[in-house]
Symmetry: D2
Subunit: 240 residues, 4 copies
C-alpha cells in the first residue's frame, strides 16, 4: 500500500474563519480523507510541527508527498527543503498543489522563478484535458469545470513540462498550464493548479480523482540509485 | 487482467533453421510465454492467419499489442494497418520491437522514414538507462548487456520521442535511442530496439522485464473519446 | 535570401464573394505580399496549377513552404503530398496555417487524425505566448488579440509538439494549442492556428510577424543527409 | 553584432604546466579567439577578477555567456551566481561547457544534482548527431570524433532536455547526452560536453563550429518581459 504524506502550511485555517468554514479539518485533512478512501496509507504533516513534520524518518517511509503552502513559504526551513528535495531526486513522488508553485521546494526543483499572473475574483475555471492518454486523467470527461476559483494566468515561468496534461480557460480572459509533469532525478513531480483556500475545490470529485490518479502515477520506480563519480572502463581502452 | 496480443510475422522461423532453433515456438511463442507468467491474458497472432489474426473482434478486446516483423512488412495489408492504427489512436497500447521500426504500422504512426544504420556482426550491445524514474525500467540495474546483437545506429529517423528511456552503446562504435515512448491519440507506444531473430535476446530476463513493464505502462487510460467536430459555445458570445 | 513558396488551395476566393472581398489577391497573395516586404524571395502556388504548382523543380529550390487549405484537401494528389513530405524530411521548412491541420500533408507527417473542435461564431480569440524564449515570438507582446475568428478547441489530436509556443483562449469557453513546432527528419514544421477565410486575420501585423519569424526559424539546416542502411564497423569487433 | 562573454575559472592554466602548454592563453583565450573570427563582439572574464568579472554592467550588455569551470566551483560567490541566473531568466543565452555541469550556476538552473560518471583515460569519444534539423549542428557531418577525451557517462542527472542534439559513444563502454538544450525563463541554455583541460579539444574545428552555432542559437529573443503578479480581468466576470 502506497504511503502518502499530505503536507499543509495550515495557517489560513487557523487565522481566517472563512477558510476554516470551508476546511474545518484543514486542507490537509480533507485531502487525506479522500486519499484514505482510495486505499492509500495516508498521514499528514504541517508547518508548525517540529521540522515541519518532515523528519528523515518520515520522509524515508514516504512514497508520495503532497504539498500545499501559500502565505508562509518563507517560514519553511532551508534544511527541510533540501531534505525533501533530496528525497524527490532519490525517487519520492511529489504533488505540488495550487499556491505551492511559489514554495521554496518547487522553485529549487524547477530552477526558475515559477511566477505567474493571479486574480481573486471568484471566476469560472474550465480545465481542459490536453493529453487523453495520460493515466492522471483516467475516469474524467473532457474538462473539469469549477464555478469559482482564483485565476492563475500565463506566462507561468516554469521549465517546459515533461508532459502537459491540462490547460485552464478562465472567465476573465487568461489561460494556464494547469496540469504539468516533471521528472527530477528518480522522482516524478506533478503540478496541479486548482485549490484556492476559500473555495471548496478539494471536495470536487473530479479534482479528487486527479489527485488520486497522480499519487498512483508518482509511485517511486524501484531500481538502485545510479552510480556516480569515477568509473572503471567496461571495455578495453587502446594504448596510444 | 490486461489482454495482450503478441503479433509476429513468423517467417524467419519457417524458412530459416537457425532461427527455428533459437525460437522453436516462434518469437511470438517465446514472448507470449514470459508475458503469460507475468499474469497477463496473452494470445498470439501471425501474418499468415486470415486478416493477419487482427480482426476488429480481436483488436477491440486487446489492451496492448506487441509487434515483431522484418522481411514481410510489405505483405501486411493496408486495411489491417489502418485498423490497428485506429485502435492505437483510440487507446490500445502498442509495443514495437526491433525490426518493427520499418513496419507500415510504425511508419504511419511516426510520419517519418524510421530509417537507421544496421549491421549484423554479432557484436556487444550495452543498453544504458537514461531515465531511472520511468516505470518501464523498474527492477533493472544501470544497463542491460547483450553479448551478441545486430547493431542499429543513429541517425534514427523518428520524431522526438515523448520520453527517451534507454540509449545503446555498440561495440562497433555507434549509439542508438533504444527505448522510446510516443503518444498518439489516446494510445501509448513504446519502441524497444533489441531482438534480432538469430540471437536468444527474448530469453534474457532483463529484456523480458522491460517488455513486461512496458505492457503495464501501455495500459489504455479509461475515459471517453474526446468529441471532435462542430461544437456549441459553452459561454455566451457577445453580439457585435 | 530565403526562398519561400506560399501554397494556397485558392477555392474560397473563387466561389465566395465574401472571401474575395477580404482577400482580393487570394490568401496566398496577401501572405506573399507581407513576406516579400520581409526580404524573402517569395512566390506562390495553388491547387489548380499543374501538379498544384509543386513540381520537383519548384520544391528543390524552396527553403520554406507555407500551406493553407480547407475545402479541397481531398483534391490534392497523393503523389504531390508524398513529394512534399519527402522534401520536409530532407530539410525544407513547413508552416501549416489554420485549416491546413486537416490536409493530407499535415496528417501524414503527424501520424494522428489531427481532429479538433470548431465553431464559426465570430468570437474573440486571445493567443497567449507560453514560451517567451522562442524566436517565433520575437517582437510581440504578451498575447495577440483577434476580435473575430473561428474557434478551434481541444482536444487537438496531434502528437506532443516539440515546442508549445502559444495557447489560445476563446470567448466561447475553449482553449487550443495554437503555436506548435514539430521536427520531422531534417525538416522543421510550425503549425499556426489563426486565419479563417472570412476574417482579415492575415492583415494583422502581429500575425504577420509570427509568420515572418516562423519562416526564419524554419530555415533548413545545412548538413549532409544522414547515411542510412548497412554500415561498416567504426571500431574493431572482437572475435568470439 | 552579438556580445559574447567567455567566462573561465582559469585555475588549471595557472597551476598546471600541462594545461598551460595546451592553452597558453587560457581556455577562455582560445574560445574567445575563434568566436572573434566568427564576427561576434567577444570579451572574457575570469574567477579572480573582482566580482569574477561579472558585474551588473557587464551582464546587462551580454547577449550570450559561455561558462567553463572545474576545480573552483565553490569559490564562485553565491550573489554572482544569483545575478547570472537572473540574467539568464531575463533572456541572456548561456553555453555551459564540459565540467561546468557541476557549477553552482548550472545546478541551480537545472534543479538536480547534475552528477555523472567520469574517467580520465585518454579514450576515444564519438559524438553522434541525433537531431540533424537543429541549427546547432549546421555544417557538421554525422559525428565528431575526438581521439582523446575524458569520459562522461550516464546516468547524467539533469532534467529532460528540451532538445537532445548529440549523444556520445565512449571507447570504454559508456554513452552520454552530450548536446542538450534547455529553456529557463526567457533564456536559452546549451550544455556541450567535450573540453577536458589537458586535451586540445577547443582547437578542433568541429567543436568550434558547434560552439559558434550555439552562440547564434542562444541569441536573446527580443520582447518585453512577461508581466507577473496581480492582473485585472480582460473580460467581464459575471456577478453571482
Amino acid at each position: 500500500m502506497l504511503k502518502v504524506v499530505v503536507w499543509n502550511e495550515n495557517r489560513h485555517e487557523q487565522i481566517d474563519p472563512e477558510v476554516r468554514e470551508v476546511y474545518p479539518e484543514g486542507i490537509h485533512g480533507t485531502i487525506a480523507s479522500f486519499l484514505g478512501e482510495a486505499q492509500f496509507d495516508v498521514s499528514t504533516a504541517t508547518l508548525d510541527e517540529p521540522e515541519h513534520g518532515l523528519t528523515d524518518e518520515v520522509l524515508n517511509q514516504t512514497d508520495v508527498l503532497i504539498w500545499w503552502g501559500h502565505i508562509a513559504h518563507h517560514e519553511v526551513k532551508d534544511e527541510v527543503v533540501e531534505r525533501v528535495k533530496q528525497r524527490v531526486l532519490d525517487g519520492m513522488g511529489l504533488i505540488v498543489l495550487h499556491s505551492g508553485h511559489f514554495s521554496k521546494l518547487f522553485k529549487t526543483l524547477m530552477g526558475t522563478s515559477c511566477d505567474l499572473k493571479w486574480r481573486e475574483a471568484s471566476e469560472k475555471e474550465r480545465i481542459w484535458i490536453i493529453d487523453p492518454s495520460h493515466p492522471i486523467v483516467e475516469g474524467l470527461g473532457e474538462y473539469i469545470e469549477l464555478e469559482n476559483e482564483e485565476m492563475y494566468g500565463e506566462h507561468f515561468d516554469i521549465p517546459t513540462p515533461d508532459e502537459l496534461v491540462m490547460v485552464s480557460w478562465f472567465e476573465g480572459g487568461e489561460v494556464f498550464r494547469s496540469g504539468c509533469t516533471f521528472k527530477r532525478g528518480k522522482g516524478k513531480i506533478f503540478y496541479f493548479r486548482p485549490g484556492h483556500e476559500t473555495y471548496p475545490t478539494y471536495y470536487n470529485k473530479e479534482v479528487q480523482r486527479v489527485i488520486t490518479n497522480a499519487v498512483k502515477w508518482a509511485e517511486p520506480t524501484k531500481l538502485p540509485k545510479p552510480v556516480y563519480g569515477n568509473a572503471k572502463a567496461l571495455e578495453l581502452i587502446k594504448e596510444k
